[in-house]
């Protein structure tokens, strides 16, 4: 099944992708499958196990199913303070 997903990028991922947000079609069933697909396409340096993921502005498990129209954010290691 093909899903329409809204992805927003921050910090190192925003720079490596070269944009802040995009809407894409994917057959990925989970967030980790989507990251793997985008990492291969865009050469993201960070492996998935260094990231967290948020769906619809809430931290979510990597293997949670993606739903059509979801807003996905991959979260690099944070460094506030």
């Amino acid at each position: 099944m093909t899903l329409t997903i809204h992805v927003q990028y921050f910090a190192i991922l925003r720079e490596q992708r070269g944009l802040s947000r995009e809407t894409l079609s994917t057959t990925a069933a989970t967030a980790v499958e989507l990251y793997t697909e985008l990492q291969a396409k865009h050469g993201f340096s960070l492996p998935a196990d260094r990231l967290r993921v948020a769906i619809n502005d809430e931290f979510t498990a990597w293997n949670a199913p993606l739903r059509d129209g979801a807003a996905v954010v991959f979260i690099p290691p944070v460094a506030g303070g």
């Binding site: 927003q8 921050f10 910090a11 340096s45 809430e58 931290f59 954010v73 944070v78 460094a79 506030g80």
Partner: protein
């Protein structure tokens, strides 16, 4: 209360907002931009946040501190944007009837904010490429982070 600020933080105003007749203690923490990190001279920093989730997670941490410690008021503010050496990056203020609760909550707040809130820091150096802190994947500045 936790919030992000795109403009300079005003500690005096925040302190005033914590005013409370029942409070006998107020502990404040100020995080400044320092001129070095890991032995390298730093020229400036950029902070970038994922605002929707940063505010949610920051407010969750504030609620946790309220549940864990006997405090009265909590205000925490984190900057975004470009900061210079000496600028205020984060400010945390806690009031309580007695100092023990205020000290403990202050420590909890800054530690959890740094570890959990989706805010990223890019350091700029003299004569070297800028670096997103904690995001290196190879070389001597790579820092292992546990999978979460």
């Amino acid at each position: 209360m936790f919030r992000l600020a795109e403009t300079p933080i005003d500690p005096a105003a925040l302190l005033h907002s914590l005013g409370e007749a029942r409070a006998g203690a107020c502990v404040t923490f100020a995080g400044w931009v320092r001129n070095h990190n890991d032995g390298r001279p730093v020229e400036q920093l950029d902070y970038e946040a994922y605002p929707a989730l940063a505010v949610k997670e920051g407010e969750r941490i504030v609620a946790e501190a309220r549940a864990k410690f006997p405090v009265l008021g909590i205000v925490a503010v984190h900057r975004t944007g470009s900061l210079a050496i000496g600028d205020l990056a984060v400010w945390v203020g806690v009031t309580a009837e007695h100092r023990d609760g205020a000290y403990a909550a202050s420590r909890y707040l800054i530690d959890e904010l740094k570890a959990r809130v989706p805010i990223w820091k890019k350091e700029h150096y003299a004569g070297a490429q800028p670096v997103w802190i904690n995001c290196a994947t190879r070389g001597e500045h790579a820092q292992a982070a546990p999978p979460r």
